[in-house]
Amino acid sequence: MTENKKKVAAYWASSCGGCDVALLGLHEKIVDLLENAEIVFWPAATDFKYDDLKGYPDDEIDITFFNGGIRTDENEEIANLLRKKSKTLVAYGSCAAQGGIPGLANMSSREELLETVYTKTPTTHNPEGLIPSEVSTRDGVELRLPGLQERVRSLEQAVDVDFFIPGCPPPPNLTQKFLGALLEGELPEKGSVFAGERTVCDECDREWKGKSISEVRRPHEVEIDPDVCLLDQGIICMGPATRSGCGAGCPEVNVPCKGCFGPPAKVDDQGTEMLNSLASILQVGEEGKGLEEERNILSGLRDPIGSFYTYSLPSSIFGGRVDDGGKDE
């Protein structure tokens, strides 16, 4: 172990674990990394304890890859701790960067979530209807669980973040690119996103040929033309409102983009941009003649929030379901 080795940490908050796997997805490159870096904290791969982390002096860690959003008090506590101990904190993956899929839970209240998960799912067996709470006593012993917060937040919504590597999970080449920049000491300005500057369409070879679309279809309802833009074929593809850098892998294999790279540089709310654009290009017959039908199509869309905010709900304008201050009609 040389003195020059960079101290690297990785942490997993509210996420599926795929991002940790993605780090391992560097394959043999990880060996190169280990030549130049030392892992000082990575619960998914190594046996470090929180106390070890707490014991480090501030700014001891050169770089922390933080994946997952902030869902629990524990997530927030460790995020703060890692922020203190790290020179550079990277929001790694869609959940850390925008809140990710777990962020869709923001469409329900905490109580609704617990009730659904512990009592309502078809596979749940919980005859007593027990719902975990932060503090409980068993055999005279007080047990504590990290608190489940009201909302999922992206890492940036909880602590200061230096860089973002988006993706679900981030593709290895972006991680490599970041590590290269780190080791060369050539990191860009704070707040940079390690991905493209444009949208997925920039990397997608499909061509938008029409002027508008006249219906919205689901992928299984279409015999997909491999050369034509999926949106042009009526399939909701988030590509136009999603940051590039992934190489358009999904649309290339007839799978519409779900938006995991988050919004492109100038967009702050990916979902709103997409629903706005979809409304702009939907046209039944001659412009202005099919208004009622168009409205029916738009208001009949299944799960608009789930479709347009798959990965970005917590960092969107509304952030999730809100309480209408007023009375319901």
């Binding site: 500057e197 444009r198 949208t199 997925v200 369409c201 920039d202 061509e207 938008w208 029409g210 002027k211 508008s212 833009c229 949106l231 590509g239 136009p240 409102a241 590039s244 492109p264 540089a265 100038k266 967009v267 941009e273 997409m274 706005n276 654009s277 702009s280 290009i281 001659e286 003649k289």
Partner: protein
């Protein structure tokens, strides 16, 4: 703003108009407290000379780089104050109007939340906007001085003559071997009964002789690129195989030609040779060899016409020529066709020889037509004694045919009936109609005259059925005035077939990026206020391609289109409001979603696959800006940031 914003706010009392319900002094006081506002004042009449001077002085003394005038609607004095700001040395877009009169002081005199607090919000919004405004200069562009007219019917002829008379070069493109259009086929014109050719052919000759009109007959526009002021047009000149300069119209070629085909000028009621001239006064006056009918342009098969031509005008080796032209304005006058009578299942679907359409009947009535002007029925050449005219044939029938009124049929049917009665005084003319629409100068008088003087029986009701019974045509209709069905055994039936757009309309609309309405007619920029302009600008409509029209309307619109074209061509440069769309080339991915959203076709993808805006075509509506999913488009001085900051100024605190 490059340097730090220094905004001045000028609150107008407008006498008591604003000051009567809004605390103007308080507004000025509060405005100074706003971020980036370094000066604020109120004055009785900001638009007066002393008021304007206050702005000029403050810009100078306070080093303002943004001005907000809180006064009346921008539609009143935005120009005034922008001029003042320009006079004071700033770019005119450094000025914003806060409308606190029409939309505040005048409408909130009593009750509700305070008009003063609303006025302050409006001012705050204007401050947020003006400090983000960028200086802009009008977009200027050179243009070609030529005008292209597509279609050589009477409307196109009129447009071409008017534009050329104004001193601009005109290229008149006509797909047929002669100009004249349908008007040249007509016998006489309603309501004056002028001989159609007599009034038209002098104009045709004028076209051919005009030094500034380049006439290209037997030609079609094949490709158009560019935009208003600068169109690049490729025109195909099809081979006529006859040199018009050499041809002396002796007609020897026609005499010897062994091929006879149906004559389209006579609507198929006569035949012509493969080498032919549409009619004797055709312009250009020259023969055309119809390559489809000719025995193959093969000297081994037949060289009769060439052999017979003493002038050596026939040349079998001619081929299509493609001519490229740059033009600034385009007049589209592609005209109309008749809805085919084959579509009229209820009227025999074209299977009865003695059921003719309006144009066929015109040829029968024409002195130069196949019957020399005598009405004779096609089947046996007999003079018909009972003639039934059916109006609205294919019109006003949304379910089976066309939904619209073809406008001219009431009049030409009356004319037909009159001319028939003049030709066959003992004959009976019956007209079936739904309504008589005679809304033109001296039209109603004409209709009444035909009914009264010519004793034409007008029956109110549509004919349901037409069938051949014992050698005549049994017409079954109704007369609603007596509420009874009527039958007529007719010798000849004339269908006033619906007017439809010429078959060229669709192609031309694609070439020029024009919109077609639901019935295939060109769609104008505004149905009432801009009836001859296309949405995109630079292309103007004349004649029946835009909607069914009679001759006076077609000629008027031809002149109207010419005036619009001349107006454009007369400008030294084309200039445009610079508040147009701008594209962030670093961000645009060329997804293409914006292209179809632009009503003006101002957006296209460039060779790098990135959207590019044509600032001349862009009208600055900003629809595409909001429709861009990556926010790569912005509207100058109405950016997302500006709107969002205005919103914050209104509701955020």
């Amino acid at each position: 703003m490059g340097s730090k914003p220094r905004v001045g706010v000028f609150v107008c009392h407008c006498g008591e108009n604003i000051a009567g319900s809004v605390d103007v002094a308080k507004l000025a006081e509060e405005a100074v407290g706003l971020e980036d506002v370094v000066f604020a004042t109120d004055y009785e009449y900001m638009c007066s000379d002393p008021g304007q001077n206050k702005i000029v002085e403050a810009v100078d003394e306070e080093g303002l780089n943004g001005v907000v005038v809180a006064a009346c609607s921008p539609s009143m004095h935005e120009e005034t104050f922008r001029n003042v700001v320009e006079d004071s040395g700033l770019n005119r877009y450094r000025c914003e109007i806060a409308n606190i009169r029409e939309q505040c002081s005048w409408v909130h005199r009593n009750g509700g939340t305070s008009p003063t607090s609303k006025a302050l919000k409006i001012i705050k919004g204007a401050v947020q906007k003006v400090k983000r405004n960028i200086p802009l200069e009008p977009v200027e562009m050179d243009h070609s001085d030529k005008c292209l007219v597509i279609g050589g019917g009477v409307s196109g002829i009129q447009a071409a003559l008017d534009v050329a008379e104004a001193g601009n070069e005109v290229i008149l493109v006509e797909k047929e071997p002669t100009i004249g259009g349908h008007m040249a086929q007509l016998s006489e014109t309603f309501p004056t009964l002028d001989c159609s050719q007599c009034i038209l052919t002098p104009k045709m000759v004028q076209v051919s002789r005009h030094p500034d009109i380049e006439l290209m007959t037997y030609s079609e526009v094949r490709e158009v690129s560019g935009f208003v002021g600068n169109y690049r047009v490729t025109i195909e000149k099809k081979p006529t195989y006859v040199d018009p300069d050499a041809c002396n119209l002796c007609g020897d070629c026609e005499d010897v030609c062994p091929v006879e085909v149906s004559d389209e000028f006579d609507e198929g009621l006569s035949t012509r040779k493969a080498i032919h001239i549409p009619f004797s006064q055709a312009v250009p006056s020259s023969y055309t060899l119809d390559e489809d009918a000719c025995l193959g342009l093969n000297p081994l098969c037949c060289t009769e016409c060439s052999d017979a031509c003493d002038a050596d005008a026939v040349n079998y080796d001619e081929s299509s020529q493609f001519v490229e032209e740059e033009v600034g304005a385009i007049v589209v006058a592609t005209g109309y066709d008749l809805y085919p009578k084959e579509e009229m299942g209820e009227y025999g679907a074209g299977s009865y020889q003695d059921v003719v359409d309006g144009l066929e009947f015109e040829r029968m009535l024409s002195a130069t037509g196949p019957t020399g002007g005598e009405v004779r029925r096609p089947s046996d050449g007999e003079v018909p004694n009972n003639v039934v005219f059916i109006q609205c044939s294919g019109s006003r029938d949304p379910e089976n045919h066309n939904p619209y009124c073809s406008k001219i049929c009431c009049m030409y049917t009356a004319k037909h009936a009159k001319l028939y009665k003049e030709s066959v005084p003992d004959g009976n003319a019956y007209v079936f109609y739904i309504d008589i629409r005679a809304g033109g100068k001296e039209y109603e008088e004409f209709i009444q005259e035909v009914q009264e003087e010519e004793r034409v029986l007008y029956l109110k009701g549509k004919v349901s059925k037409l069938e051949e019974v014992d050698g005549s045509l049994r017409v079954t209709g109704v007369d609603q005035t007596i509420g009874e069905k009527v039958e007529i055994d007719a010798d000849l039936v004339v269908l006033a077939q619906s007017i439809i757009p010429s078959d060229r309309a669709e192609e031309v609309s694609k070439q020029l990026n024009l919109n077609l309405g639901p019935n295939g007619f060109y769609k104008e920029a505004h149905p009432k206020l801009r009836p001859v302009e296309s949405i995109g600008g630079g292309v103007f409509f004349a004649g029946a391609g835009q909607a069914p029209k009679d001759i006076p309307d077609s000629v008027s619109q031809g002149s109207g289109a010419a005036a619009k074209a001349m107006d454009l061509l007369a400008k030294p440069t084309l200039s445009q409001d610079p508040q147009v769309v701008e594209i962030d080339e670093e961000r645009c991915s060329g997804c293409g979603l914006c292209l179809g959203q632009c009503p003006y076709g101002a957006l296209e993808l460039n060779s790098r696959g990135i959207a590019e805006v044509n600032e001349i075509l862009c009208e600055g509506c900003g629809t595409c800006v909001s429709g861009c999913p990556s926010n790569s488009l912005s509207l100058k001085n109405q950016t997302d940031e500006q709107v969002n900051e205005v919103i914050k100024a209104y509701v955020g605190d």
